[in-house]
Point group: C2
DNA sequence: TAGATTTCATCAACCATTTGGTTGAGAAAA
DNA sequence: TTTTCTCAACCAAATGGTTGATGAAATCTA
């Protein structure tokens, strides 16, 4: 039962650590608290991951993997490249919005590690290039730059949501939630910005 | 000489604290290090600001004030609302890019405090509304939302610059630096996105 | 104005608590 | 019986915060 238990516990540890690192930042996170939340002895963390930093790397890696897997599994919309682009943008945003912890972790990762958002960007780049091939996306658009803009629009919003909410909100009671409106506006801005006229 | 000295030291403290908080996050920042960098006794920090958090609030307030002052002093471009909008976008980005410490501090502030980027957004809202009045900005554009998008595009980039750089960079040697290209692309995206057709 | 006193500003030395990390030993598999 | 896993107790270092004392202005007093 050790293997099973081990695995289960390792998962619990990663989950707890993800939450803690996301909420409190690497420096702010307390190893003790992670252990308690995972219902494990603190030493187990060091046994598995050697150090706080090692644990964080594990969390980061798993978060990146999760993101990549989720993006790969997104439903492929139908229609032309522009419509598919819009669909992918919406789906990516929805996923990121549902997993703010991943966003927080990965955004921290950028300081130490390589780009964990790369798969998300790549996906967009492909669609944009495809659109250019079909003459539906303007040729003077740089797919990489535009894809990165789209990502920043999504990730940046999720990190600054309270700023946006605090400064923008004359929003009627029945209006769609700010987040939904953002999603639509961002997807629209990108698509409209690259569409060949 | 006490008043002068006090003031000078207070300034040094704020400066040092801004740098430290920006680089290492509130939790990661070490009071000791701030004191050393400001060449003051550690206790002086507590004498002035009572606690680490208090010091951070002071830093945050001063950063917000600095941002507001700088934005107010931006040169007003000439031309129609759209051109002025583009000018303001460029100028705001330039300023924020030159003061990454302010960005880092203010972005942290959002978790605890009210929106410190509000003045920047307001400025954009005014221009957009003006453009709508003149029929140069589409009526279905929500000025608040669009202004926030522009801000996220700028601030988000500065926070995720390494991600963007790591995932996008097939950039030729003589091309303008990534940051410059981003500035232009972002300003263009926003302006083109709202312009009445 | 000289002196007394109160207030402001500054510091070195401390301190209680918390932190990441160890130790050594015992279960449980293999 | 060797390897893998788990834990309670421990520890040195660091951290935010405190104490008590001391120049030096500013304020008051005679």
């Amino acid at each position: 039962m050790s293997r099973k238990l081990n695995n289960t516990r390792a998962l619990r540890i990663i989950a707890a650590a993800t939450a803690e690192f996301a909420k409190r930042t690497f420096e702010g996170a307390r190893v003790d608290q992670i252990a308690r939340a995972a219902r494990v002895n603190k030493q187990l963390l060091f046994y598995y991951y050697h150090s706080k930093r090692g644990l964080f790397q594990a969390v980061l890696g798993q978060a990146a993997a999760e993101l990549e897997a989720a993006l790969a599994g997104l439903p492929t919309a139908t229609g032309g490249p522009l419509q598919r682009l819009q669909g992918v943008l919406r789906a990516q945003f929805d996923f990121l919005a549902r997993r703010p912890d991943l966003v927080a972790i990965l955004a921290q990762g950028n300081r130490t590690d390589l780009a964990p958002f790369a798969p998300a960007i790549r996906r967009l780049v492909v669609l944009l290039a495809e659109g250019q091939g079909l003459g539906q996306v303007r040729d003077d658009v740089d797919p990489h730059l535009t894809a990165a803009q789209a990502l920043v629009l999504m990730v940046g919003y999720l990190q600054l949501e309270s700023v946006v909410a605090a400064s923008a909100p004359p929003l009627g009671a029945d209006e769609p939630a700010l987040r939904e409106r953002w999603k639509e506006a961002a997807a629209h801005l990108v698509v409209a910005g690259v569409a060949a006229r």
